[in-house]
């Protein structure tokens, strides 16, 4: 049989298979996912932050994390960045003479670093074993060490550099903020917001937090305004309604009763940008700052999540295994014609 003719058949078959697959599988783009409507999150207002790091200590305590030392005397917990053992940290921006707070030149500013709880998280898309998951209601990005294989794809994927691995342990885990979801059932919310003395870190529904952020951007710098602390009240009121029998949502969202802790203080000189409103399709943690976000360590990100593109490619190529099976079918057909005589001949040669 003509080898060249078979060669051409092989070319044609595989070409036809590839074209058929490309045509059979419509190029469906997976859009960037928005936050769930009842998403919970934090609003961090850098202009209210005084850098006391009470949130860093409270985070350590709530998550049973050991202290990390960066000074010679090893007396205080002094982490320099988030790590497998530090899920929240306040970083400082310094410039020149550091004359005034929230000033880009010759000034200083604070910035909180912790999980942004993305609407469409790269870490969740990356994780091969569903150890990193996003709660469909609260949107909290949680971690399950009992499934985690320690591949650190989540560490590589996160554009904020949030999931971190414990390299010093033979049984190292991934460490990241889970919005204190383990404390929610007792009516406690995120420890960092609970202890924040100035309300710089505020807990609530992201939708409410976004409205609060926009209220602040509309304020006149220096003007006296009322600022809530701890938990944003509308969150409580709405959640406590719960279901008619008073159970269900109420049980999960039934935050502890707290006195109103709001106070009056002059408004900061905000940049007109709510960080996290649009970045990567929107995050559940939002940030306000007076100093350029990139300068205080928040990356400039596009409005589409990388997870959306990655999953679009993945599912167009492998969705329902249509394409792989079509190609396999074509290959099997061609191989069946070409392989058989080979074995017979090799048997004969040796026999």
């Amino acid at each position: 049989m003509g080898t060249r003719r078979d060669f051409l058949k092989g070319v044609l078959a595989s070409g036809a298979a590839a074209t058929a697959c490309a045509a059979a599988v419509p190029a469906l783009a997976r859009e960037t996912r928005p936050r769930p409507p009842e998403a919970l999150g934090l609003l961090y207002d850098a202009t209210l932050c005084v850098g006391c790091k009470a949130c860093v200590a409270a985070c350590k305590e709530s998550n049973d994390n050991p202290p990390e030392f960066s000074t010679v005397d090893h007396l205080w917990d002094t982490p320099l960045d988030t790590s497998g053992y530090t899920f929240n940290i306040i970083k400082m921006y310094r410039n020149g003479t550091m004359d005034a707070k929230d000033q880009e030149t010759n000034g200083y500013a604070f910035m909180k670093t912790s999980c942004m709880h993305c609407g469409d998280p790269s870490c969740v898309s990356a994780c091969p074993v569903s150890a990193m998951t996003k709660d469909p209601e609260t949107g909290v990005v949680g971690y399950n060490p009992d499934k985690c294989i320690g591949c650190r794809y989540c560490v590589a994927a996160c554009p904020f550099g949030i999931p971190k691995y414990q390299y010093d342990s033979p049984t190292g885990r991934i460490g990241k903020c889970e919005l204190c979801r383990h404390r929610h059932k007792d009516g406690h919310y995120s420890a960092c917001a609970e202890v924040c003395p100035t309300g710089a870190t505020l807990f609530g529904r992201t939708e409410d937090l976004l409205a609060e952020a926009k209220r602040r951007l509309a304020m006149k710098p220096g003007e006296l305004n009322r600022f809530p602390r701890g938990r944003l009240r509308p969150a409580q009121e709405k959640m406590l309604q719960g279901k008619p029998d008073g159970k269900g949502e109420r049980k999960r969202h039934g935050w502890r009763d707290e006195p109103d802790q709001s106070y009056e203080t002059p408004a900061g000189k905000y940049l007109q940008h709510v960080y996290g409103e649009k970045e990567y399709g929107g995050t559940q943690v939002l940030k306000l700052s007076a100093v350029n976000f990139e300068k205080v360590g928040m990356p400039d990100l596009p409005p589409d999540a990388a997870a959306a593109l990655s999953e679009t490619i993945q599912h167009n190529l492998y969705g329902n295994l249509i394409m792989p099976f079509a190609v396999l079918g074509a290959m099997t057909y061609v191989a069946k014609r070409n392989v058989k005589p080979d074995d017979e001949s090799s048997d004969q040669e040796e026999g």
């Binding site: 294989i149 390299y167 080979d342």
Partner: protein
Amino acid sequence: MANNQHAAPAPVGGSLVNIVTLSCGVLIALMAAILMVRFLFGLGAVTGLNDGYPWGIWIAVDVVIGSAFACGGFSVAMLVYIFNRGEYHPLVRPALLASLFGYTLAGAGVMFDLGRWWNVWNMYWPWSINPNSVMFEVAICISLYIVVMWIEFSPVVLEQFGKRDIKKKVSKAMFFIIALGTVLPMMHQSSLGTLLVVLGVQVHPLWQTPLLPLLYLLSAIFMGYAVVLFESCVASSAYRRRIEMHMLTPMAKIMLGILAVFIVVRIGDVVVRGALPKAFVPSVEALMFWLEMACVIAPLILIGAETNRRNPARLFLAGILLMLGGALMRLNGFLIGYETGGDFNYFPTLAEVLVTAGMFAVEVLGYIIITRRFPVLPREEAIH
């Protein structure tokens, strides 16, 4: 039709103890010692890994580059069985053997790197898997492909031990195994590129594109042929056999065809996405990009002419350049062009390099033992 004009494969024979095998033994022993420390005290005890560079050379070199080097079996099997070019049949077994080792070790190498390796069963557990994850796809396809290759290679072992009946049964299903053996590598070699997509803006624009799966697949194929050129030259010089120029010369032409398509897609993509100016910014990334380009373009000049393809030295050099070019694209995407922000640096530790060297030593040692004792290379009167 396929191989009746060729000499049947036969063991090369000869001693297994020589300077090469002994050196391999030493490297493997060192690797074992380092891995013991790694499993007792954690990844940080032996590697330079950190949260800015959570993947080091064990992933970028041992797995991503190592598995592409192991594409010889796939590239040649495609040629012989799918495009029915029986004249290349003697190349199948040696190429398959090298692939078998490359992939099996890449699989083992992943285990060294997994921080919570005892949970790895979740990768195959229906209630844990995440089909959205590119890594899941890569892991499943590589696992399956390793099994498929062992079955593809099993006739060699069965022949040697005279298990004729089993060999016949395996042979009957071989066409399907071979078909699987072409589809699975297409799937995971492309996905190894897709792995980078979710890293988004953290990967330098010269290496971050939606076309990554196509680029990684095309380069895996030409790297497969390049590795066969390299191995054939090394094997003939080491075992003092004739160089199979009558097969290597036309195969190199096919390799150049794939390479040409790759270069057009690679450069076209960089230009269309507007990333080309980044290649002219004085930076390590730009330097590495041009180095990578030089490695893939030089072979066109080196063996572009038919007469030059008859020159074994040129073929050997072109093979090495293409292996290097494909490897650089992978190293650049996974490490050099990866930037998380913050003050993170990564340079592999001596221990990491020794483990990688140990893995390659296992491959070399395994190749020597099997070709000397099992019917892999075409029968030939050895000159020594």
